[in-house]
Symmetry: C2
Subunit: 347 residues, 2 copies
């Protein structure tokens, strides 16, 4: 009898392990932030190849995503799609989603003094102006946690929408060294008499952006999204004017006539990532007769990005298989050598 029970327990335990393991495409971690004096929940997803035993252990760029509660579920497969072989448009990345506790406090760069039109003793968005603290939490605490617990490249991107877009652009202005690239979807640049626009104008004048930085800005059709104190259109329009006469930041703006404020993040994140990583994709067919092209293209891409990117080991394996299958012997040998040069400990 006891033997049977033991067997049942072992079976159940094995099943549990299988299920727990198969669910682990999202790690939900709790981190206590000293800066914010509170616990924060972080959702982390690693790329498909992260745990692969077929390749050497690689490092990955990191994407920090605000408002994870509403964006994580679709950004996670979006990244996997964009990085998939044989047509990767971007490298595989680690996704770090930050969930909210007090969203307005964290995302806004100044304290609101706007009074309610209904009740003038009430200040709207009273608990605001915490962006500097929130940026410090991300930079000094969250990034350390991620770097210590995951294999990361020193390349990171910040993605935000609405107040999160405001925070994203404010972080670029205040701390251009914190991230390499920024995606701001329909940012609330109207905040506090467009204070972030003014800061951006000054930062550009002061030559603050010394290295190649990328900024993608999506804009929804906000003609029905005006209120007495928040003019989305005017805030973004002024920002566009400021950005149009500079060449320090690699900048792209896209207007989405079929999207509204609450829907624009999906195509905004897709097209923003495509903009940042433009030039990453190489054409495998062209490599058969001109194998050196791969190195040339990655060099040009890395130069544009201000950071060295290399073809992944999985992509090189794919190329080698392609050359083998199509009997391009010389190219196959070239890529085998090239792979060993980059991945000495290749399996």
């Amino acid at each position: 009898m006891i033997k049977i029970f033991k067997k049942i327990i072992v079976f159940c335990f094995c099943m549990l392990c299988v299920l727990v393991f198969s669910q682990q495409n999202v790690d939900k971690k709790k981190i206590f932030s000293k800066v914010l004096n509170e616990e924060r929940e972080i959702w982390i997803s690693v790329p498909k190849s992260y745990h692969s035993s077929d390749i050497s252990k690689a490092k990955y760029p990191v994407i920090y995503l605000l408002d994870a509660e509403i964006n994580f579920d679709y950004v996670e497969p979006m990244l996997k799609y964009l990085a998939r072989n044989p047509y990767p448009d971007m490298p595989e990345c680690i996704l770090v989603g930050i969930t909210n506790t007090d969203r307005t406090r964290d995302m806004t760069p100044s304290k609101s003094s706007t009074k309610s039109p209904v009740n003038p003793t009430e200040i709207l968005f009273e608990n605001s102006g915490g962006a500097e603290n929130f940026a410090a939490f991300i930079q000094t605490e969250l990034k350390s946690f991620i770097q210590n617990n995951y294999r990361t490249e020193n390349y990171s991107i910040l993605l935000g929408h609405s107040f999160g877009g405001l925070f994203t652009i404010n972080t670029l202005v205040e701390h251009p060294d914190y991230f390499n690239a920024y995606i701001a979807n329909d940012p609330s640049l109207w905040w506090d008499k467009q204070i972030v626009n003014e800061k951006m104008r000054k930062a550009l004048k002061d030559g603050k952006f010394s290295k190649a930085k990328f900024l993608y800005l999506s804009e929804a059709d906000n003609k029905d999204n005006k209120s007495w104190n928040s003019d989305m259109i005017d805030g973004i329009q002024n920002f566009k004017t400021i950005l149009s006469s500079q060449d320090k930041i690699n900048y792209k703006h896209q207007f989405y006539e079929d999207e509204m404020h609450g829907t624009v993040s999906y195509p905004g994140n897709y097209n923003g990532l495509r903009f940042i990583f433009k030039g990453y994709r190489t054409d495998i067919k062209k490599l058969s007769k001109n194998p050196q092209l791969l190195e040339t293209e990655y060099k040009a891409f890395s130069e544009k990005m201000g950071y060295q990117f290399l073809p992944s080991e999985e992509y090189l394996n794919f190329i080698i298989n392609f050359m083998d299958k199509n009997k391009f012997e010389e190219s196959k040998l070239y890529f085998e050598k090239f792979k060993l040069k980059i991945y000495q400990n290749s399996l």
Copy 2:
């Protein structure tokens, strides 16, 4: 001792149930097809509200997705994003992904007689021409299975890419009654001397499309995707010419200059769904002063679609909460009555 074992088993069993249940956003089912004389694996995902105990049991349109292996993981969250409150761009749908066994056989509408240029005794794509069988499997066997096991509306959409796009358009031509709407991403219309283009030309001439049908066609930049026997560009170009001079099919074509054949499905599916369901989204802010607008807009939308669509119970609850929160008492009462009219058994 036995008591402790029993407790451990109960605990393990409960944990197993929790995990199995939480994994059930994808049902993987095996169906034996008499038409194809083989077993087929189908992946099914139901909408978030499907099992909700807060609303009455609803029925859902069904999206049939070809090449599920490479498309299911991102289409599933894409549907959830597009249907989410408070900005639904489409109704919640059941997603049915069809995985492949013999892709070329199933997707192609005629038997290939093209000889290999290297070895003239070898016929390329020899096992081809099974589209009619595959369409029969979907229509008579798979659809019955889905209708018998899930709560479905009689509205369905077919999504396919490449050979799957060819199959999609061929199904529209041969069986316009099988689906209400069709998305074909970069379809291989070059197949067999553009036989499907010729069939479409004839079908349009014969007035075969008597009801409103929707077709969305995405086209990648294929200038580097030509081979001696498959001219993607020419096939699609001729199809566009045929479709440009008709008004029976609600048709939209989009060219993607930054996408290649292997990457175009992602934005193609997103924009295809947006095209089909254009007019579904209503603006909640406008409803406060004009509550009748909701019914008017749903009526116009249903007319366009040739099928009755109603606002979901969850969306109506959202509207009622919005009216309550913003103190639009009359509108709140209007929508409470309206909801009871549609959902008599509302909870």
